[in-house]
Subunit: 254 residues, 2 copies
Amino acid sequence: MGRVLAIVSQKGGVGKTTTAINLAVALARRGVKTLLVDADPQGSVRYGLGMLAAHYRLGVSDYLKGEIEMQEIIRATTLPWLRVALAGTISDGGTHEDYHHSFASSPLVEELLMRAQERGYVVVIDTPPGLGPIVQRVLANSDHVLVPLQCEPAAVQTTAQILRGIRGVVTKNQQLTFDGILLTMYEPGNTVSERVAAHVRAQLPQLVFDVAVPRTVASVDAVAAGQPVVLRAPNDAASRAYIALADELSARLQ
Amino acid sequence: MGRVLAIVSQKGGVGKTTTAINLAVALARRGVKTLLVDADPQGSVRYGLGMLAAHYRLGVSDYLKGEIEMQEIIRATTLPWLRVALAGTISDGGTHEDYHHSFASSPLVEELLMRAQERGYVVVIDTPPGLGPIVQRVLANSDHVLVPLQCEPAAVQTTAQILRGIRGVVTKNQQLTFDGILLTMYEPGNTVSERVAAHVRAQLPQLVFDVAVPRTVASVDAVAAGQPVVLRAPNDAASRAYIALADELSARLQ
Ligand SMILES: Nc1ncnc2c1ncn2[C@@H]1O[C@H](COP(=O)(O)OP(=O)(O)OP(=O)(O)O)[C@@H](O)[C@H]1O
Ligand SMILES: Nc1ncnc2c1ncn2[C@@H]1O[C@H](COP(=O)(O)OP(=O)(O)OP(=O)(O)O)[C@@H](O)[C@H]1O
Ligand SMILES: [Mg+2]
Ligand SMILES: [Mg+2]
């Protein structure tokens, strides 16, 4: 049975989507059967993977309405071991209020995750920023949670809050393990960035992955090209960090 | 009567809080009586202004419970014309689900904004990332909306979605004007950043402010110091951009 890993942070723009995509791709490249699920109504995963064609329109938000089968939204990709469930037509629509409700209450969320695990998939879930109803529901059905933390003062300030939110769910959901904090957009040589990284490691020993993902030009270029950086520039420092992270996590997730 | 300006984007980490704080401070420095409201349960405004003392704990989330008076959460600051309503104890708590509900349904939201306007305040509201219930409620009670857009490919990809979401609300709320898109963290000399800015200006003529806020070291340092960059480094390029934006907006907001 594969495990379910949620990528969560209440702070926006910290690298949740970048981490979910590149970690899923790095796991698949190791031969781990992986399903990447986009639970964020913003639907950024489809851009990061360049899956913009009309036939990729339907996804999680459509499945949750109960009108289509699961196999209609689990998409094959160019990588043999990677499947993807995109966010679906919610990201073409207007407001997200109804989606919040349906995600928070539909039994099909468990159904999707359970059947994927039964088929031996490791599931990686991208989530919207915040600790709202979608994130709560994802965490209630996850085995592992990873929190990206951007190496900037603003992201550090709200760390205590996210950890409190996670701890709250871990007590409610016995199967959930907090795997740790992943430092992202780290800038070696930039004193503010280095100070943030050192501060977080000192404050939260044991909770921070040794691997930190550096801020690189290749990462930004990859998004513009609609390709994960680990495929587009495997020797880039950010790619090497995600590959090392996949090496570290793959044993825990299978 | 002052107007209400909401700072909104469904994309996270694009500079909503930085813009709300520095625009409010720049308006107050011009002598405009300004109230900055933090509607984001993350409560980042308190860090950006260094208002961390225990007596600043109560805020909007506490007022919405109906247990305290409005004047208990409208705080004076070191600037004569700037008052602030922080997010309150929600940002010390756990999950945000209940807050989403209470913000979406409490009549006290209107009460707060109406009474501030009657007292001649221009109100600037920081919101959480997304188009969820808090943002919808804020937009339903706003006169103006400004959308920060980070000059990175990932933020551009979801622009159509945020504009659709805003257009949906503008049709429902006749008093709401869409003021435009503010380019943030612009990096002159960085071809990807320049290409993003040129692309957005070409795609959305008339919708993008001439002023773009550059990415600067002083902006990041200011957050670490708990001070708005327009006060800490008024000659910094980001400060000058926020001051120019306040000059442009102040006539519309009063
Ligand atoms: N290692 C990196 N190097 C350079 N840029 C990066 C890196 N990781 C992420 N970014 C950029 O930072 C921005 C935010 O990343 P991303 O969209 O993955 O964050 P997020 O947490 O998913 O945001 P949201 O809260 O909107 O869901 C994007 O423009 C992305 O391209
Ligand atoms: N002009 C700038 N120059 C450099 N860094 C900036 C600038 N504006 C914002 N930042 C940094 O970018 C990050 C995101 O900014 P901010 O927190 O204001 O975004 P936000 O949209 O409010 O995020 P959230 O979605 O979490 O509410 C912060 O680390 C902030 O310090
Ligand atoms: Mg994301
Ligand atoms: Mg913010």
